[in-house]
Amino acid sequence: MTLGWLGEALASAPVEHALVAGTEIAFLSGLVGAFVILRGQSFAGHVLTDVGTTGGAGAYLVGMNGWLGFLSFGVVASVGMELTGGRTRGERDLATGVVLSLALGFGALFLYLDAQLAHANASMAVLFGSLFTLDPALVPWISLAAAACLVAMLLIWRPLALASVNPDLARVRGVPVRAISVAFMVVLAVAVETDALVAGSLLATALIVGPAATAARFTANPLRAGLTGGLLGALIVAASVLLSYDSYTWLPQHTSWPVSFFVAALAFLAYAAAAGADRATFRRRAEVELR
């Protein structure tokens, strides 16, 4: 019987598009997320989602494609944040915060104007995602963007890893640290803003940080962490899409539960399980060393 609804779900075109675009971008997010964790840029990653809100809301306002709005604002903000970065992490966070609050303010204005112009659903789509109503024409473009980001990540992988762990050594070795950082931020922006289509701009953080933080509990090797995080992310999105499809029948009032809820919940569960398992092995290891 389970296969029955699964087959039915897989046969539906919106579910298929959601699965294809969602898993692709989730894989990229997990991969990129490994470096977000390594470089301590969770806040920057999260800020990009909020800046994307402004872009998406603005795009709806002028009747443009939402994804392009997300992307253009995200890429500009990511480059700007990287170039104006402060000295310490706290300082950087506060400077980021001012930019973020300004972006949120304009986002509020755009969403308000969207609502005034009777695009009430536009604001919900921007904030909470609308994977099932994804424009089929966008799917190849999303695949293309994901593939381009993947290639870019592979090209800068080694210098990026070195620059993230030890920027001074990287500089001595002749790695263009700043250019690499900017390139990484652009890839991050593309991943984050496309996640916003899957899970909504409020929840894109879950896909960037969740799977990667889970993977980071097990391995310090960025390649292994990236691949594990990517696969885990893809798995989470696939499961979320199917669960959301199935949840229509869970409650008597027949509302399908949002994909973004399942993404966030599964990502957190995976992390909690990993943290528990990690602590158990850590204790065992510590006992061995004590002996």
Partner: protein, 275 residues
């Protein structure tokens, strides 16, 4: 409409009163946020509070209860997770989980976009007289909490080793700040909304830090700036009809930019004779 004539209506007076309490709390608590550099938590807790408010709407209970409960639990969760993993990761994970449940509440409650919008961006004209009292109480408790921990919050930030030697617990201070952030959030939610309470927390305090030299000076200046920004935003919003939060965020950024510029000019002037 003339913004001063609007004050003849009770709803406008309620809005002004509630906004003033909120502004004092935000300016005060924001000082510690800036000193300790916990901008991410200050941004995450209001968003989580939004989820709590949508849960309260779903269950039909007072939204202030929902927000306070949800953001207090989230604050403790961030504090507990941050002991085992990096702080930004812990914050991001709790934030994502909170917002995920918020999305679920909104869709299960069949709430319309307008409900979500008013939670996210504030609905200051809907504040009732009992709402004003609630806001005042919650703000006061939040301020009392950080004021009680004032010395410890500063000590553990500015001289961490010395504080550890003297046995001042950083963890208690941390949790006190997070919980009072959660409280301030729930007070701010109806006024400026979940997304922009962050602006009011960080903007005035950052501006004050560039101008003041002593902690109490900075706190007083931050509270004053935050009051000024809030009143101006309310009047602008009354007269133009745009969301309050938009003006709050613009004015906060403006205050920050102005204070940074003036402190830089001042530094150059004092440096010049010395050279």
């Amino acid at each position: 409409m003339n913004p001063f004539l609007v004050l003849a209506f009770p709803f406008a007076r309620h809005a002004l009163l509630a906004a003033s309490f909120v502004a004092v709390a935000a300016g005060w608590i924001g000082f510690y946020v800036v000193v300790r550099g916990t901008a991410f938590a200050a941004h995450a807790l209001p968003k989580i509070g939004f989820a709590g408010a949508s849960g309260a709407l779903l269950l039909g209970v007072n939204s202030l209860v929902g927000v306070s409960l949800y953001s207090a639990v989230a604050a403790l969760g961030i504090g507990a997770l941050a002991e085992r993993d990096r702080r930004d990761v812990a914050t991001a994970l709790v934030l994502a989980l909170g917002l995920g449940t918020g999305a679920l509440f909104l869709s299960l409650g069949n709430l319309y976009a307008e409900d979500a919008m008013s939670l996210l961006f504030g609905q200051v004209l809907g504040v009732s007289s009992s709402g004003v009292i609630e806001t005042a109480c919650v703000s006061a408790v939040g301020i009392a909490l950080v004021a009680a921990f004032h010395r410890r919050l500063l000590f553990t930030t500015l001289a961490r080793e010395a504080a550890a030697v003297r046995g001042a617990s950083n963890r208690m201070a941390d949790w006190a700040l997070l919980v009072s952030l959660g409280l301030a959030t729930s007070a701010m939610m109806p006024v400026v909304g979940a997304l922009l309470s962050f602006s009011l927390l960080v903007g005035p305090a950052l501006a004050a830090r560039h101008l003041a030299r002593r902690p109490w000076q900075a706190i007083a200046l931050s509270v004053a700036l935050s009051l000024l920004i809030t009143w101006l935003s309310l009047f602008l919003s009354f007269s133009l009809g745009w969301p309050v939060g938009f003006f709050v965020s613009c004015l906060s950024a403006l205050a920050y930019a102005a204070s940074r510029g003036s402190s830089r000019a001042f530094a150059r002037k004092t440096a010049a004779p010395a050279a």
